[in-house]
Symmetry: C2
């Protein structure tokens, strides 16, 4: 089949389903989420068989071990999907909430109503459980979804799609509310991200090259983050015990995550006290240290290049820069940060207040590890991604980020004078 026609067909059906979802109650959406959980739970054998095909093909295609690992639908992964659906069913429904409804001098009442965005396109790579994560959040927030997973997971994704369709149908919801792109043709992505007639927003989840391509070519709005180059600044007024804990946790709690610290900034006045102890702890964890010339006066580091400051290592590597003061730290962040998350460690009230208000990142912290920048930790219940853009959603994006607010006006025959 012609890919363009196929994707337009999906778009058209998604738009129609989105329209139908506008009239669906929270109870009906929750029932569908629970039915999908049941369907998955009962389809473990079919899921395993489908996944085995993908794994076999993956081995044949020479996928490396971590990729095969992410592709694998173990019983624990299926448990996670089932549990995730139940959790999303338990979250409050953001749709329909009316806020700020008040009378204007003209006599009309004006307020805002929270409503779904409409149709959300998700583009993701190997992990098939994203199919359920994304579909459940979009469905709960009243959106129709078009899911485009990696070709290496196509059999698994189709089997999951069958469960979703079964759950939707049992709950009496339109089956087109969640559609999985059935073709592995790469042109499908290009079509999806330019379907502005039918798709309201695209959420790419995957490596940097995928996200760069989607951002560059999309004509539909994109919720994304490219990089997590997060900073911790240890101020000379820091409580050094807190500084030690936070700097260690932010780097070593997990390495391959976007909210891990990639660059540590230390005020020179406390560098001699802070750096040697930290360097020892990092060394114990096997973290490679790169640093500026001033840093090399306190601890042994490889020289950091300008490229280091601009790199998201996603690995046990840390760049360290010794700075004069908070102003220099903020200038460094301004130049190199990817606007994800930055944290200051200080006991100084005025500096904490200034850092919080002036640092231009999605999340700004005082005396806390950057690892907290996460939808679950922030209480969103679930997260579809983390946005480093400023338009629409910023930081961890949960159900609210998948909705919009329209204005409502209640009158009694009112006309403009």
């Amino acid at each position: 089949m012609n890919v363009q026609e196929y994707m337009h067909g999906l778009g058209h059906k998604a738009r129609r389903a989105a329209r139908q979802l506008a009239g669906v109650t929270s109870g009906e959406k929750n029932a569908a989420l629970l039915s999908i959980a049941e369907a998955l739970n009962s389809a473990r054998t079919a899921l395993e068989a489908a996944n085995a095909k993908d794994l076999e093909q993956g081995v044949k295609n020479g996928l490396d071990a971590p990729l095969l690992d992410r592709l694998r639908l173990t019983p624990a992964v299926v448990d996670g999907m089932v549990e995730g659906l139940r959790q999303v069913a338990n979250l409050p429904d953001p749709c329909g909430e009316i806020t700020d409804l008040s009378y204007r001098p003209s006599g009309i009442q004006v307020g805002k109503m929270r409503v779904p965005l409409g149709v959300v396109g998700i583009i993701y790579e190997s992990r098939p459980n994203v199919t359920i994560d994304a579909a459940s959040l979009c469905l709960k927030s009243g959106n129709a979804t078009i899911l485009r997973g990696g070709s290496e997971a196509i059999h698994s994704n189709r089997a999951i799609a069958d469960c979703i369709a079964q759950g939707l149908s049992e709950a009496g919801l339109p089956v087109d509310a969640v559609q999985v792109v059935e073709t592995t043709d790469r042109a499908a992505v290009g079509e999806l991200i330019t379907l502005s007639e039918y798709v309201d927003v695209i959420v790419p989840r995957g490596g940097k090259s995928l996200i760069e391509r989607v951002s560059r070519d999309a004509t539909v709005a994109v919720i994304k983050h490219l990089d997590g180059i997060c900073h911790v600044y240890v101020d000379d007024k820091a409580d050094l015990k807190k500084a030690f804990d936070i700097a260690l946790n932010a780097k070593t709690h997990r390495y391959g995550v976007c909210n891990a610290m990639e660059t540590l900034l230390v005020a020179e006045a406390v560098a001699a006290e802070v750096l040697p102890e930290l360097a020892g702890a990092y060394e114990e964890k096997g973290v490679e240290l790169r640093g500026c010339e001033r840093t090399a006066r306190f601890i042994s580091v490889k020289p950091a290049s300008d490229e280091d400051w601009a790199t998201e290592y996603l690995a046990p590597v840390l760049s360290i820069r010794t700075v004069d003061d908070m102003a220099e730290a903020m200038a460094h962040i301004e130049q190199y940060s990817s606007r994800h998350t930055e944290s200051i460690v200080t006991e100084d009230y005025t500096r904490a207040r200034r850092f919080l208000s002036e640092v231009d990142s999605s999340t700004v912290m005082v005396n806390a590890s950057t690892r907290f920048a996460d939808g679950f930790e922030f209480g969103l219940g679930a997260e579809i991604g983390i946005s480093t853009d400023k338009i629409h959603a910023r930081g961890p994006v949960g159900l609210l980020g998948l909705t919009s607010q329209k204005w409502i006006v209640l009158g009694d025959g009112h006309i403009r004078q």
Copy 2:
């Protein structure tokens, strides 16, 4: 000068100014707005002279009368700019507001802080007073602005820019906080809308062709509306007096505005009662009526083509369609609306509730004229435009639409477990 270099230079300076504005207080911003008002008030002779050059050039270039009219900086227009600045100074400052700050089970406090978007690019056509409207809203919301007006107003815009620079400088704010593009080279627009490194959002204000071009070519986010194809649906449960008032007001209060009704939908059961009286009133106002076949059974209309339903007349022309019921009206709106504003006239509670929640437009009304869809009427104090998009700002966009929210986290040495 090379346009690309010139625009990059403006972008770079705007970004630096935006950074400086992050540390500026509400009082300082208000002082700057009032200083600009004073500067304009004192520069009336210079403004008049600059404007005379534009008008002279305009006559030479054969601009038509309405365009020349919009170009003219009459004393009343200058009064309006001065008064507008004072009003914006009086609006509450949205920046820095912290909301939803609460403790999470981990012990951290998580909340949101409202912050400027950063750098806003405004692209507009002939009316030079937009320079002040846009600059004042952007400045109040803490954004740096790059203003690109029409080439036909270049002398007026430069003279206004001088006043802005004087006001900023007197108030001790960076003069680059508001920059007017000094070149009339059309390539400057193409540069501005792709300056993603420096510009956070573009607001185009002008005709449909300008907005279409900007939306198509921009790589920066755009806040815009293309069309205002607004509908009023007169339900068979309508109070017919209210229906008459609203249908007349929505069409005839002003013709050339985006919130004017372009299509009237009438339930067949009341068409015989509603249409003849309305047709008489429209005729009195000189409104040309086009209608579907069913409508032609009740009143004399030109036949409406499919194109009519999709046209924003911005003129004394109205298309009328007689429908079976609300479902058919909603289907018509779904197909032809530009998602700006729709209103239902009904006394039926359930239909009002359903229309409000299911119609997917920026503003949805019950028993009120579409003409109320306006930032001033909604209490925003001022309006930079009306958005028919769902991402970020929707409907009338005031100061809030020029801001974003970042997450803030307050800890006491907290680390992820």
